[in-house]
């Protein structure tokens, strides 16, 4: 149990700036997920916390004490790697015991701790096996076991599920969630998978280009993305973005002159605006309803993706943009059909066209 504070952290590799002034305050027992596309600096941030990479500037405080100059093993932090990184020549027991041996624990204490961790992770029957004799999921459990035997203050996970197949991923994800509930330890988890982030996190930090885009609970990020990047990154399929000429009297003006009703929170007036709407926030109407011309977007069905419980219809608007619309599967759409897309005003997000920042509440 420990809180972790990161202040003004900078990191550059030569001329390349990877992290530009990251500030984070991670509460004791919190499950924090660092989420972002590849190359956003999330793994670098994790590695700096672990001590595997040196920061260029800034400080890391664990319970108020700076750990920035300590070697990895002295930081009270355990890391679980993407490739598991088990010692191939040691058994499961050896893998878990090595860190304790190195720290000088007594044999009895080592045996006790390994046994406890093995029981917690259901590894008891595998203790004598070598990593090459384990399945991917078992290896990942051993990697986690190796982290918990040392009873660290903070757990770091570096994309721990990305080497597992889809079915196993869900299962191990659940195990990590249960582990967090049981240990109530502070955990920092790096992923590019938003499903992992949404399901596991107490709070998510969305990173892009070495800068924090938004910090918030999964619900905050999904419902109130602070900028266009977060809006486009969270949610699958991604949010649709459509340009508005401007906003006049809380009403959006499409480039063609048509009007769009906006949410209550929209500003009175604004210049060029990007309107964002998730696939679930739009609906399709047959094109022959002539009165829709003024309030809806005309387009043509390109294709329909059938997912069983719903289907996603890709529509090419007459102005050229593409929109994905979530539909009931009963409402089948044939490619080539002319349609109108109507947007639910309550489901709209508005962003400034130049800065990408959220408009209104």
């Amino acid at each position: 149990m420990a809180n972790l504070k990161i202040s003004a952290l900078h990191k550059s590799f030569g001329p390349v700036k990877v992290l530009e002034g990251v500030d984070l305050d991670i509460a004791s027992g919190e499950f924090l997920v660092l989420l972002g596309p590849s190359g956003c600096g999330k793994s670098t941030l994790l590695r700096i916390i672990a001590g595997l990479e040196d920061e260029s500037a800034g400080d890391i405080l664990l319970d108020g004490v700076s750990i920035a100059n300590l070697p990895p093993a002295k930081r009270g932090i355990a890391m679980v790697f993407q490739t598991y990184a088990l010692y191939p020549h040691l058994t499961v027991r050896g893998n878990m015991a090595l860190v304790l041996k190195q720290a000088g624990y007594s044999k009895a204490e080592i045996a006790k701790r390994v046994a406890e961790s093995a029981r917690a992770l259901e590894l008891e029957d595998l203790l004598h096996r070598k990593p090459s004799e384990l399945s991917g999921g078992q290896r990942q459990r051993v990697a986690i076991g190796r982290a918990i035997v040392r009873d660290p203050k903070v757990f770091l996970f570096d994309e721990p599920l990305s080497n597992l197949d889809a079915a196993l991923r869900g299962q191990v994800r659940l195990e990590i969630a249960r582990l967090h509930l049981r240990l109530t330890a502070t955990m920092v988890y790096v992923t590019h998978d938003q499903v992992e982030a949404m399901t596991l996190a107490d709070r998510i930090v969305v990173l892009n280009g070495g800068e924090i885009q938004q910090i918030g609970t999964p619900r905050q990020l999904y419902e109130k993305p602070q900028n266009q990047f977060v809006a486009g990154f969270i949610g699958s399929p991604a949010m649709n973005f459509l340009p508005l000429e401007n906003i006049e009297g809380k009403t959006g003006v499409w480039p063609g002159g048509a009007r769009q009703k906006l949410p209550e929170s929209a500003p009175e007036t604004h210049g060029p605006t990007i309107l964002g709407v998730r696939p679930g926030g739009c609906d399709l109407r047959p094109a022959n309803a002539g009165k829709l011309e003024k309030t809806a977007l005309a387009g043509e069905v390109m294709l329909e993706e059938y997912l069983g419980d719903a289907s996603f219809v890709h529509v090419r608007l007459d102005e050229g943009a593409n929109v994905i619309v979530r539909q009931q599967t009963s409402n089948r759409q044939v490619p080539g059909t002319k349609v109108h897309v109507v947007l639910d005003p309550a489901a709209l997000h508005l962003f400034d066209a130049t800065s990408g920042q959220r408009l209104g509440a």
Partner: protein, 313 residues
């Protein structure tokens, strides 16, 4: 689709297998198997030095080699020297190779590639050049080694290293180590690089750093490579000949103190000074060398390699 009857039809003879295997099998037979068989055959015959009559003598040549005073002395001496030559390589060349490789892989050393190339370079040189260069350097008359030792205050250590019976073999072995240390270095370096970065980082997180990390993790993971290097060293050393021949001549001086099986074979086969050439005894020694190496490799393959696990990384 083919009907069910295709099961009944006989599969045509697959000529292409023979065609593809043929050239390699032919070349291997001509340059490896035939000479080997011919050597073995030669060792069972003896030629009368006067009448030139060739007689089948069975194992008589081996009997001579092992029990005739004239042969057994030089043979056991060459065998012993060869063994020492091998031991020096194992104790000096391979540990130094591992050490250099470990240093190269551990640090962000400026000029790392330069060091790697420079250390590997002598391996590319001909034995003749290496032998000649070292002979010049170590020469008591005009060699630079005396001056170099004196310049660091070790002038009294200088002696004609290649000219004294006690030091000649060790000196030659060390010259050979200098020449070939690049090979274990390269192999170990490659093996060290193949250890996944994350395993090493995990070790860092676990507090296994520095020497402990090398001995507890890296060394164990590269053991299979060290095994391969050992067997390569063994085969190379028991076939050694060139370096002794170029620095000390076929008589492996001084007083045969640097005689290896290779030089003994050479003198026996072709003759030297007062000793007439004897292809049959030469073939006998060559066959013995072949068997020594065969037994060594077999021991390695059956007893050592099986215990070295190649870990999935």
């Amino acid at each position: 689709m083919m009907p069910e009857t295709s099961n009944v039809r006989k599969r045509p003879f697959r000529w292409h297998i023979l065609v593809f295997l043929g050239p390699a099998a032919f070349v291997y037979t001509v340059i490896m198997i035939l000479p080997l068989a011919e050597t073995l055959r030669l060792s069972f015959f003896q030629v009368d030095s006067v009448t030139r009559v060739v007689t089948f003598v069975g194992l008589e040549n081996y009997n001579q080699l092992f029990f005739n005073v004239y042969w057994v002395g030089p043979f056991t001496k060459a065998l012993w020297n060869n063994f020492l030559f091998f031991v020096i390589h194992m104790l000096v060349q391979n540990p130094i190779g591992v050490l250099i490789a470990a240093l190269l892989s551990m640090f962000h050393l400026p000029g790392k590639k330069l060091y790697r190339t420079a250390i590997f370079m002598p391996t590319l040189l001909s034995f003749v050049i290496v032998g000649f260069v070292w002979k010049l350097m170590l020469s008591p008359l005009w060699g630079v080694s005396k001056g170099m030792l004196s310049s660091v205050g070790l002038g009294s250590w200088f002696m004609p290293f290649l000219g004294r019976e006690e030091s000649a073999l060790i000196t030659l072995a060390l010259i050979s180590v200098w020449q070939f240390v690049g090979i274990p270095m390269m192999l170990i370096y490659a093996a060290l690089l193949s250890i996944p970065e994350e395993v090493i980082e995990a070790a860092e997180c676990d507090g296994v750093t520095g020497l402990a990390q090398f001995f507890k993790i890296k060394l164990i993971l590269i053991l299979p490579t060290i095994g391969i290097i050992s067997i390569l060293t063994f085969v190379g050393n028991f076939n050694a000949f060139d370096l002794v021949y170029t620095t000390q001549g076929p008589l492996a001086g001084p007083n045969f103190s640097t005689d290896l099986l290779g030089t003994l074979l050479y003198r026996t086969f072709y003759g030297q000074q007062t000793q007439p050439g004897d292809p049959n005894m030469g073939a006998t020694i060559a066959t013995m060398m072949f068997f020594i190496i065969l037994v060594g490799v077999a021991i390695y393959l059956f007893f050592i390699q099986r215990r070295l696990t190649r870990y999935e990384m």
